[in-house]
């Protein structure tokens, strides 16, 4: 069977056996997804995006924990792996932590939302729609936590609020998102 006809999970099994063409095939299939994800995570920094893409594929190439369908959809697993690499990257940099201290609070951290485009997948439009229902501080919290890789404690410091407040805000935000995702799904 040719590589092009193989399932993602079959390709990943080949990658575990150090089959280089299988890794290249996974790249061809999912690079747009991975690149777009990391591009958002680095807030549009092309140089960092390239570095993280390299690390993601290195991780796939050297990982000991193989993918199996119990871990959900392959693409979902792939994005979880990608996020882990992103978070490790910004944390290792520790520039992240230092930036905290020197962060100028007068400027809000802007994370642009992607425009609603017809090309966007259904999932994207759903989450974008649900996110639009969040209040500004809720959305900001989600972005800092999910898309910047800050920890709850760090966010409490940035926002100059108690960790408990941040936690209950996150709780409400996620509940609200869930509610709107359900509505959207109906």
């Amino acid at each position: 069977m040719r590589l092009k006809e193989k399932l993602d999970k079959e390709l990943m099994a080949l990658v575990m056996k150090k089959h280089r063409p299988a890794l290249e095939e996974l790249y061809d299939r999912h690079i747009k997804l991975i690149y777009g994800y990391i591009f958002k995570f680095t807030n549009g920094n092309a140089e960092k995006t390239k570095e993280i893409v390299q690390l993601v594929f290195l991780k796939l190439w050297t990982t000991k924990s193989s993918y199996n369908s119990e871990k959900g959809h392959f693409v979902s697993w792939l994005l979880t792996v990608t996020r882990n690499v992103c978070v490790d990257y910004v944390r290792k940099d520790s520039v992240h932590i230092r930036n905290n201290k020197h962060m100028d609070m007068s400027h809000p951290i802007d994370i642009e939302d992607p425009n609603n485009d017809i090309e966007n997948g259904l999932l994207h439009s759903e989450i974008a729609n649900a996110k639009s229902k969040l209040s500004k501080p809720q959305k900001r919290l989600i972005d800092l936590l999910y898309w910047k890789g800050y920890s709850l404690t760090e966010i409490a410091k940035i926002e100059n609020e108690p960790v408990g407040t941040i936690k209950s805000r996150l709780h409400q935000s996620l509940k609200l998102l869930k509610k709107h995702l359900e509505v959207g799904g109906l």
Partner: protein, 240 residues
């Protein structure tokens, strides 16, 4: 609700350390409220990952990524090997190297002597054969009153050759005097040892022949002492 429940969101966002993570997983199994909450939260949390747009990177990225991956992986392998050999050589301080050398020498010596011993033991099991026998007569044929006679044998056992000389009725010797056996070949003499006969005049000698000890005659002389390197005294008996 207990203190563990407060960790739900930290657990979700992957901020807990290994130990805390384990404790919370355990807690999740017992706390139905957290389980219900966690399921809801996880769904919302996981949906966040879709909040981005796909993007087409530059076409050169693929080769950059693949080169990075395969080169880094190769480097890691090489480094692992280097670490291993580094670890191996680190075991050899001057002391351990010395000890190892001493042990090796000892092993070699023991092995060698063991092999020799085995050879000898093997030789003992082989039959002793008479290869050559020579009769020995008085050198001075005119001395009719001399009834000295004897014989010499070359015995072979395996690879080993021995010369045995036996003589009866030898004239008695003075204090330091000895009889000395000489091997003759093409006019050259080789010393094959000295002996003293008993009171009755019976003497004998064994001599281990080396591989290149070749001779066609034997002569026995009376020497003033046992230090002769060439005959100083008169020849008493010899092979014909």
């Amino acid at each position: 609700m207990n203190t563990e429940c407060a960790n739900l969101l930290s657990f979700l966002s992957g901020e807990l350390g290994e130990k805390e993570k384990k404790a919370f997983t355990e807690h999740l199994r017992q706390c139905s409220e957290c389980t219900r909450e966690y399921e809801q939260m996880t769904e919302a949390w996981n949906s966040l990952k879709w909040d981005f747009e796909e993007m087409e990177p530059s076409s050169s990225l693929k080769s950059e990524v693949m080169n990075f991956v395969f080169e880094t992986d190769d480097e890691v392998l090489v480094r692992k090997e280097k670490n291993w050999s580094g670890f191996f050589f680190k075991q050899f301080t001057p002391v351990t190297s010395g000890l190892l050398l001493a042990v090796l020498v000892l092993v070699f010596v023991l092995l060698y002597s063991n092999i020799q011993l085995k050879k000898e033991l093997a030789a003992i099991n082989l039959p002793m054969e008479v290869k050559t026998s020579l009769s020995l007569q008085p050198a001075d044929k005119t001395a009719v009153n001399m009834n000295t006679d004897g014989a010499a044998y070359i015995l072979q056992q395996g690879d080993e050759r021995r010369l045995i000389v036996q003589i009866q009725n030898l004239p008695s010797l003075q204090e330091s005097e000895v009889y000395q056996v000489w091997l003759l070949k093409d006019g050259k003499r080789r010393n094959a040892g000295t002996f003293k006969p008993d009171e009755a005049g019976t003497g004998s000698l064994t001599y281990k022949l080396s591989i290149d000890d070749k001779f066609n005659q034997i002569g026995i002389t009376k020497e003033p002492d046992s230090n002769s390197t060439k005959p100083r005294g008169e020849k008493i008996v010899g092979s014909s």
